[in-house]
Every structure is written in C-alpha cells, then in structure tokens.
C-alpha cells in the first residue's frame, strides 16, 4: 500500500517528524517497506531551457546544447533526439546523483568534448516511465528554478506492507486512524457535504444464489449531465505518486476513493445499461471482456453485475470493457456494493484476475461504508465533472450488526506477561473504534472483520501499547542437565552423515524434485508424485531416491572439470503421497578414480572406482552403527539403475532392504561426463531394528588360549557366491570358529578356486590333533555340501 506523507496528513494532525511516523507505522504492524523523500532526491535538479544546439564534432548522434540554467549558460552534451532549441527540460548538475541509476555525475569529456552535467529523461529521474528523450516541461517554468518547486516534489512517498488481516488499512484514512490510536496525532474527520438530489431511483436487483451470499448489499445512483474530462493536477499527482495511471476524471475519482477510504466503486456508462442493473449468478458459458482487455469465460458460481440482457462486469473484481465510462460519457450509474470475501477470493482465483478491488473485497471492506462511499464519490464527481445526482437505490440483505466480544482483560497479562492497567486497555480499545461497556463487553468496529475472539483483542492491545515493552522472562528448563532429545533414528542420521563424510565424500543438499525421465529411470515417475505447477520442467517429479539428484550434481561438477569426486546426500525419497511413503535415504556416489586412498594419476599406480569402493562405504556405516552382521545377507544385484552384474543389495533376514550398492548402470551414465560411477543407498528406517543398543556391556570374552589358524582351498562353480562359502564354513562349528576370511581366489571359465582361512578359538582346553582334525572335516563337509564343490587336493 503506497501513499504520501501529505496525503496522510489530510487525515492526521501531527507535529511528529517523519522518522517518528515511520517508526510508529512499523511498530503497530504496518511495516514500512520503502520510503522515498522527494526533496532530498530532487533538490539538485533544475529547470533548464535549451538556447541553441549544434552537432557534436566527433559523434553523429550527439549534440552540443547551450543551456540556460538561470544564473549561467553552459554547454551540455546530449544524445536525445528531442533536444532542440527552445525546449524546457531538466538539468542535472555535476555532483548530483541520478535517482534511477544511483550514478553520481562527474565532470566528464564525452567523445572529446567536456559536458557540464546532463539533461535527463523522466525515467532517469524516476518521474515516469518515459525514457524516450529528455523530459519536456511546460515553457512557463523559469530556467534555474529547482524542480522540487516547479514540479512540486516536496513530498515523501511511503510504501507499507499490509498483512491480509488488515483491510481497514488499505485506505489512507484507515492508516491515519491506526496511527492516531497509537498516539502519533489526532484523526481528522472528512467534511461531509450535503448533496441536493433530484430525479428517481434507478431500478436495481440482487439475485445471487449460492452457499455464500456473494453480494449482500447493492446500491448506486444515476448522475446526469456530467462532463468527463482530464483529471485536475492534484488528482493526477496523487495517483501518480502511488504508481497509478490517470485514465479519466470519473475513473480517477473511483480509484482515488479506493486508496483514500479503501472503498471500491464502479462507474458505468448509463447509455450502455439496458433497463436495470444488479448482481446475479453468471450463466454457464457467459463471457465478458473485462477492463484488462482479456476475455473471461464465466461459471454459474461467479457473481456478475448485469442489466436485463447482458453481463456488465465481474462483481467486485473488474468491470467490463463495454459498459465503462469514456470521455464521451455524460450520464453514469455509480455503483457501491458489498461483496463476500470468500466468494471474491474463490472467483478471483478461478478467473485468475488480480485487481485493487478484488484485493480489498477478499480481505473485507467496511460494510457500513457502502452508502457513505457512494456519497463521497458523488460529491467529488459533481465538484470535478458537474452534473446532477439522482436518488440512491439500495438493496441491503446483509443488515450488518457489529460483533460483540466479552473480553477478559486479565488475558492480556496471561498471554503477554505485560502488566497493563485496565484503564489503559480501555483507552487503547476506544481509540481503535471499539465500544467498551463497563463489564468489558466490546463492540467491534465495522471495519475490523479480522477481530472476533479474545486473543484478537489481546493483539490489538499489545500492538498499540508496544510489543517492545514485553519483558523477557526465563522459561526454565525443568530437566537440567537435559537428557538426550534425539530418537534412535535421529541419532543414526547424524552419525551416518559424519561417517560418510569421514570416507572423503562431500555432503550436498539438492531439491527433492527432479525431471520426469530421471524419475522414471530411478523407479519413480508415478502420476501422483508429479508437481502440478513445477518451477521448471527439470523439477517436475518428486524423486524416488536422492541418488537420482546427486548423479546429476556429479555430472555438473564433471563438466566444470572435476571428474573425480565423491558426494553424498541424506534426504527424502518418495514412493507415494502418504507420510509413510517418504523415507530417508543416505545416498553417495564416487566417480572416476575417487577412492578413499586417493585419486587421480599417481606414480604408485591408480585405479578407477569399482563396486567394492561403494560396498566399503556401506559396510563402514553398518559396522560403525553396530549392525549385527549375522542379521543381514547380501543379495546379488540391486535395482535397475545399477549394473546388473556388479551390484548388490543388503537385506535383513525378513527381506527388508537395508542398502543398495554397486556400479551405476552404464545406460544411466552414458550421457554423463564421467565414464564410471559407483554409488550406494542406505535406508535408515531398517537400521534401527538391526542395532543392539545396550548401555551396560557384558564382560568381554578374553581367552587365555591362543587362537589357531587353518587354511583350506575349494574348487566350486562360478555360480557359487563367496557369501555361501563363508556362511557354510562359519556355521560348521559356531562355538569354536571365530572368523572366516577369503584370502585368495582364482577364476577359470567355469570354476573358481577359493582359499579361506579359519580362525579357531579354543575355549577351555588346548585342542588335540584329533579335535582339530574333526573341525577341519566339519568345515570341508559343510562347504562341500553347501557349494557342491570339492576341497582342492
């Protein structure tokens, strides 16, 4: 909401300086976003007259202008086509700052000729949008006159952010009322002139039917013999100061009252209205060309203003092109109505039209100001355009009654901690326009649709009293020193992040949405996870896994010349819309030769990453988190975005997925800037179940007897996995065999030879040769039967 200081002062008598006013605006919740002090910005600029022009000796498009600036005649280089003898324009001297660019003028040679300052366009001075040529002023202005005087640029423009609950401050009068309540000055009531009325009531109707009463008050009157003209200077200046374009006097008056009082009005050309005017439901399929020049198809829940044959406007949102006023208009129907906020919001959104009128109606205008606004506008129209007003027609189905609230003043202290005397609370509420009875029954002013409960009143009181008076009061922590606040899952997440980083990977955070093709490639892309209004096509689908995001991140880095890298992300992956369909996945990727040991060419030799680098990352995490490796198994091959022969999946005994790891499928990295990538995904939800969390440990088993090691070598089919051999050996004697290690493997075409080392831990006696022989036999039998292989002789 924009306004000027002088406009505000029409309604606020105050001797406070501008800074106090700005500070108070913010303090009462009308946050000052910007202010523009015209005098300080424009004080250096002067009216100038061009005496003569000649061509610049070194540039075809430039001219040398001899300029009269009052006390002197100087030469200025100018590139504008409209610079010619006799033109009155604006001169910026050396040392002044051009408002639009913030550029400070210095003495400068332009193509070899010295220019003392410059002649400015309106755009450069932020005095208008016109950037074609230099400003053209009225010849009546004397050369040398400061433009602050000539153009009346002594005001301060203020822009405040109005929160959606404060429609009462969408007019300058309302802002003045709020400032007055905060003690910044005294509210000045507007003079109300009596209007002499002649003629008849114009026939109106109110025929809207739906759940909500879209239009509950409809009123208006005819004014005849008006002469629509260009608006007077003061009105144009006021509108331009807040960024509105002057259209014609009738339209300008309604716009002015919209910003002055927060009361939208509309002027119809009476000639275009057939017989009567009123509000009704649109008929399905009806169309209207609105004032923004666009054609809108209407629906039957939209409230329109119509005569007995056609639609004239979209009620409360925008008038129609056809029925609007023009310079030829001599008879008008002036409308003032009350439209329901909910219905306006829904219609506005449906038709996708924004207007100053919709903006006010959907926030809630003062329903008691309908007729007063109409009178105000009538007065101004008669004053500026002449004419005679006829009787007001009005249908009021709303019969507005002010809200009542039984207030408990003790609530102020209870909610804010502030001790404010009841007397002061009462004064604040009165100054805001509330009526307050002796037993605190409050009558809410008609312009405050946002106030309806006790808490709202508390807000009004502290807002005006000053939120900054609130004193800090310690909220004691009853659990000092505090115990852990994290759940096991939250602990795991934090730990995993740091474990993965400790393996040389950089943590990234990427958007949760990716493009459709990627979503499909990574097992997603379902319809219900598509964003209806994505910010770009690249961000259209909720990702099934963060892996899909970070591969692209890796690619972008590769394209910048960093092809060997490791990155990871701990973030959500989505398989559906429900809360349970979102899981946290720790995903990592290594490209090129980025291994824990080092990367890039090296004299000691180097290798590209392989599936085992990814597996090491996963196993390191699981081991550090205390996952019992007896409770997990590895399935060969992972989801389709991994290399089918070089990937694996870690599962719980029940078959839940703990992690995927492997080489990324060559098809996926085909288009990328690296030739190999390995990655992993760890699913946090599963891990908690696999952990043993004991605060008190049992005593460790420390044996006095030395462990023994025995080696075996088996020939098995290539189909047999290492995991099968280890498991078979391990399970052949669970009490004595402590570990099984593979230390060698030879691959032939069909068979492979696997060498394992068994560690045997004797418990209570030294094992005899016979006992050792028995263990060996058990290992051999178990492995041979599990693998259908043979001990190598």
């Amino acid at each position: 909401m924009k306004f000027t200081l002088s406009w505000l002062k029409e309604y606020l008598k105050t001797d406070k300086d501008i800074n106090t006013i700005l500070e108070n605006l913010t303090n009462i919740g009308l946050e000052v976003e910007e202010y523009f002090d015209q005098y300080s910005v424009y004080k250096d600029f002067k009216v100038a007259k061009i005496i003569s022009t000649k061509k610049h000796p070194n540039a075809d498009r430039l001219q040398l202008c001899l300029v009269d600036i009052g006390n002197d005649k100087i030469e200025v280089v100018c590139g504008a086509k409209n610079a010619k003898e006799g033109l009155t324009t604006i001169y910026a001297p050396v040392g002044s700052t051009i408002p639009d660019s913030g550029f400070k003028l210095k003495k400068a040679k332009i193509r070899g000729v010295e220019s003392l300052g410059m002649l400015c366009s309106k755009k450069e001075l932020r005095l208008g949008e016109d950037s074609e040529g230099i400003a053209e002023l009225s010849d009546n202005f004397k050369a040398g006159k400061p433009i602050t005087d000539a153009l009346n640029l002594n005001d301060i423009q203020i822009e405040i952010a109005i929160t959606p609950n404060r429609p009462d401050c969408l007019g300058v009068y309302g802002i003045a009322r709020d400032l007055a309540a905060a003690g910044v000055g005294k509210l000045i009531e507007r003079d109300k002139k009596e209007i002499s009325v002649s003629g008849e009531k114009f026939p109106i109707f109110l025929d809207y039917k739906n759940q909500n009463d879209a239009c509950s008050i409809f009123s208006g009157r005819v004014i005849k013999n008006v002469k629509n003209t260009k608006s007077p200077e003061w009105l144009i200046n006021k509108l331009e100061a807040i960024g509105l374009r002057s259209v014609n006097c009738l339209v300008d008056i309604t716009n002015y009252i919209n910003f002055d009082q927060g009361r939208p009005l509309h002027v119809y050309d009476l000639e275009k209205i057939s017989k009567k005017i009123g509000a009704r439901n649109a008929k399905k399929g009806e169309e209207i060309q609105a004032l923004d020049g666009k054609n809108y198809k209407l629906d039957d829940d939209i409230c329109v203003i119509a005569d007995d044959e056609k639609v004239l406007g979209i009620g409360g949102i925008m008038g129609g092109e056809y029925s609007g006023s023009s310079m030829d208009t001599t008879e008008i129907f002036l409308e003032s109505a009350y439209f329901d906020p909910v219905q306006i919001a829904l219609s506005g959104r449906k038709l996708n039209i924004m207007s100053d009128s919709r903006y006010r109606f959907e926030r809630g205008v003062d329903p008691t100001y309908v007729l007063e606004g109409l009178e105000y506008a009538t007065n101004l129209i008669i004053e500026l355009c002449g004419g005679t007003a006829e009787e007001i027609s009005v249908i009021d189905n709303r019969k507005f009654v002010n809200k009542k609230i039984n207030f408990t003043p003790e609530l102020v202290k209870k909610m804010t901690g502030l001790e404010i005397k009841n007397k002061i609370i009462r004064e604040i509420l009165l100054s805001l326009g509330f009526k307050v009875s002796n037993d605190w029954e409050l009558t809410v002013p008609s312009w405050r649709p946002d106030v309806s409960i006790n808490e709202d009143i508390v807000e009004e009181v502290v807002r005006v009293y000053g939120l900054n008076n609130i004193k800090s009061e310690p909220l004691f922590n009853d659990q000092q020193p505090s115990k852990s606040i994290l759940t096991n899952k939250q602990k795991n997440l934090r730990l995993i992040r740091r474990i993965i980083a400790s393996r040389g990977l950089l943590e990234t955070i990427s958007y949760s949405f990716i493009n459709e093709q990627d979503a499909i490639d990574y097992g997603g892309g379902i319809n219900s996870l598509k964003v209806l209004n994505p910010i770009s096509e690249e961000l259209s689908d909720m990702r099934p896994t963060p892996l899909a995001s970070i591969i692209n991140t890796a690619d972008e880095n590769s394209k910048r010349g960093y092809g060997d890298l490791g990155i990871f992300e701990l973030g959500p992956g989505f398989s559906g819309k429900n809360a349970d369909d979102q899981i946290i996945i720790a995903s990592g990727i290594r490209t090129g030769s980025y291994r824990l040991e080092g990367y890039g060419k090296d004299w000691q030799g180097y290798n590209n990453v392989d599936v085992f680098d990814a597996k090491k990352d996963v196993i390191s995490v699981l081991e550090e988190l205390g996952v019992n490796n007896q409770k997990i198994k590895i399935k060969e091959s992972a989801p389709k975005y991994y290399h089918p022969g070089r990937s694996g999946q870690i599962l719980t005994e029940k078959g839940n997925i703990v992690a995927n790891f492997g080489e990324i499928h060559p098809k996926i990295i085909k288009e990328k800037d690296f030739n190999i990538a390995v990655g992993f995904e760890i699913f946090l939800d599963c891990i908690d179940l696999l952990q043993e969390r004991k605060s008190i440990q049992t005593a460790p088993n420390i044996y006095n007897l030395q462990p023994l090691k025995r080696d075996f070598s088996f020939i098995v089919s290539n189909e047999v996995s290492a995991q099968t051999i280890i498991k078979a050996a391990r399970n052949s004697d669970n009490s004595l065999i402590k570990s099984v290690k593979i230390f060698d493997q030879f691959l032939n075409e069909k068979n492979k030879s696997i060498a394992i080392e068994i560690t045997i831990q004797p418990i209570d006696h030294t094992l005899t040769d016979h006992e050792l022989e028995e263990i060996s036999l058990k290992v051999i039998n178990s492995v041979e039967s599990a693998t259908k292989g043979k001990l190598r002789s």
Binding site: N27, G29, P164, N165, P341, Q343, L346, K414, M415, T416, G417, E455, V458, E459, V462, L467, N468, I470, S472, E473, P474, L475, N477, D478, S482, I485, L486, Q490, R497, R498, A501, G504, L505, L506, E507, T508, I509, S510, Y511, N527, S528, L529, K530, L532, I535, I550, T553, E556, N557, R560, I567, K577, A579, Q582, R595, L596, E597, G598, Y599, W603
Partner: protein, 360 residues
C-alpha cells in the same frame, strides 16, 4: 710343528687382512677346525713330558682363545661392512610425493551443521525434535492451521500442488514446517516443547528465494507460557547461536493465521560495512516469525484452548547459516558445486556441542 710366538702373530695378521666372510671361514677351519693347525698342536701335547705339556698346554689355550676372539670380531666387522654396503644400494627417493587418505576431504553441508547447532541449543533447553512429511495434505498445511480455502494468506504461500487423482484430499509440498505442530500435538498430550526442522517448498525462485529451503519450527504449549517467555527463548537462542552476548531483538506486530497475537522478530545489526554484523549498529534484520498459538490450531489438535496456551516460532535455517557463516548467495546452497562445498563445508570431526562452543 711346535708352538711359537710367531705363530699367533702370523695368524692374527692373516685374519686382519681378510676381506670377506668366506675367506675368514677358511682361516677358521685351517686354524681351529678339527684338522686345523691349533687342533693338531693340541693333539701333539700328549707326546710331551708332563711339565712341558702343562706349559705348552696353557699357551696353546690362550692362543686358541685369542684366535677365536679375533675371528669373531673380524666376522662382526665384515658383516657390518657388508650390511652398510647393501643398505646404500637399497636407497630410494624419499622425496616422491605420497597419497593421503581422502577422509579429511569429506565435508558436512553448512545447513546440516547449523541444524546440529540449533538442535544442540534447543536440546539443552529441553526441546525434543519432531518431524513430519514433506508431502502434506491441505488439511495439515492449511486448514488445521486456521488457513481455510478462501483465505488470502494461501496466496502468500506460493504453494506447489501435487497431481491429485482424487479431488477430495489435495496434496501439497509443505510451505512451512508448521503442519508438524498439529501432527505432533494430536498424537500426544500437553505440555509440549519441541522443534521441527525440515525441508519446505514454495513456488518461487530468484536471488533470495529457492523453490526448496529449510525451516525450523518451535512450539511450547502448557498452561502459562506467554510472549515474555517467547522473547526470552529467542534472545537466549540467538545469543547462543551467534555466540554473542550483545544480541538485541525487536518484536514487531505481524500476521500469521496460526498465531494470535502474531509478531516478527528482528535482530540488531550493522549493514554499513561489506559484511553484515549481528549485535552492532542500528539496522534491524528480520530473523523469525512467531506468536501465541491460535486457539483454532489447538482445537484442530484436540487441545482445550481454555486451559492451554503457548507460543510458536519459525526460523529460516538457510538464512541463519548465511548470517552466521557469511555465505552470500542462497542459490549456491543447493547446486552441489564441490568448490563451494569444500569451502563452506565443515569437517566431520567438527561436531557442535555447547561445552566446546558451537564454533570450532
């Protein structure tokens, strides 16, 4: 052959001239071996008279001992020479560069680090961490927070909608972390004291907005918590977070449908230099939105607003990270440029704790 003084000299000389271990061994066999000179002389002793035998015997014993010592010390000497020679041959260029494990190159993203810092502070104040889904129903994201369908505030949110196969329940990407308030409260009974960090989404993208960003929500609900407690909590938090004693905050009235009264929180800062400084100067910087929980929100969570009240606040995590660590451009947070991650990222060992201080 008999013993003579010259014999010892002669043998010692031979030993001292020897240059390698093999020759030395030959000498040992020739002198001390079973058929060596000294052994033979020993054997010959039996032919002598008892007196001579005794005298010659003791001389021969000394001779034998001296030679044997001389050989073993010569052996050590030769072994050392040989070792030194071999070691010199084994010399390698130790100036060759080595590869060091990549572990120290791993880094933690500033947002994660700052979230850890925030959790640490609120954890010490007894807050739990409560989380909710990124894909929300309109109910939790809006309606339950007192933002009905027609509310103008819905437009302020620039909401991302998901494709809806049934129009009854529309899903959105949550526009704030506030839905977690309701989700958490409806599952449990008051009092409540928790924070909810997470990803939030708005259909907006420019220099200071990214379509995804992080928020942290705080909520305290009991029978008497009021705005004075909120002010203390935020002051305490900012002091601890920025590790500054001179934090000054200002409360400004504002509007959020889910709080009443609503306010915005500014911290004092200095914008005059090239780097924004918190806790000095005369400018104000908006850092949080807050207020007393709206009775309608309590009702949506099945809590009696006549008995319970409390405050809620929301902080922008990315922005806090920008302020604390001087990171200029928000967009760089989420594009994964490894040069940026390396520069602004934190060591995995740098775990923020209050006893250590949040900053290393």
């Amino acid at each position: 052959m008999t013993y003579s003084e010259s014999l010892e000299e002669e043998i010692l000389k031979k030993i001292s001239l020897t240059e390698n271990q093999d020759a030395l061994e030959e000498i040992r066999i020739a002198e001390l071996g079973k058929k060596g000179k000294i052994s033979l002389l020993m054997k010959d002793l039996s032919k002598l008279s008892p007196e001579d035998r005794k005298e010659q015997g003791s001389k021969l014993n000394i001779l034998k001992k001296n030679i044997s010592n001389a050989i073993s010390s010569k052996k050590n000497e030769l072994a050392n020479i040989e070792l030194e020679k071999r070691l010199l041959e084994e010399k390698i260029d130790v100036t060759l560069p080595v590869q060091v494990s990549q572990s120290k190159h791993g880094k933690i993203h500033p947002v994660s680090q700052v979230l850890d810092e925030i959790s640490e502070i609120f954890g010490s104040l007894g807050y739990k961490i409560s989380e909710g889904p990124d894909i929300e129903t309109e109910h939790y994201n809006f309606n339950a927070l007192n933002i009905p369908e027609s509310h103008p505030a819905r437009q302020m949110h620039d909401t991302f909608y998901l494709n809806s196969d049934n129009a009854k329940e529309k899903h959105v990407l949550r526009t704030h972390t506030s839905p977690v308030q309701v989700r958490t409260m409806e599952k449990d009974k008051p009092p409540f004291k928790f924070i909810s960090p997470g990803r939030t989404y708005r259909c907006d993208s420019d220099q200071t907005h990214t379509p995804m960003f992080h928020q942290i929500e705080g909520l305290v609900v009991d029978e008497e918590t009021h705005l004075g407690h909120l002010k203390w909590t935020l002051e305490t938090f900012f002091k601890s977070f920025f590790e500054l004693d001179n934090i000054e905050i200002q409360l400004r009235p504002s509007y959020f449908p889910f709080t009443e009264p609503s306010l915005e929180v500014d911290v004092l800062c200095d914008r005059s230099g090239s780097v924004l400084k918190i806790g000095e100067g005369s400018d104000w910087l908006e850092v949080a939105g807050a207020g007393m929980v709206h009775p309608e929100v309590l009702k949506s969570s099945n809590i009696d607003p006549k008995k319970y009240q409390g405050f809620a606040f929301g902080l922008g995590v990315d922005r806090l990270a920008q302020l604390k660590y001087g990171i200029p451009d928000l967009r760089t947070f989420f594009n994964g440029d490894i040069r940026w991650l390396n520069h602004y990222g934190f060591s995995f060992l740098d775990i923020p704790t209050l006893s250590r201080g949040l900053k290393k």
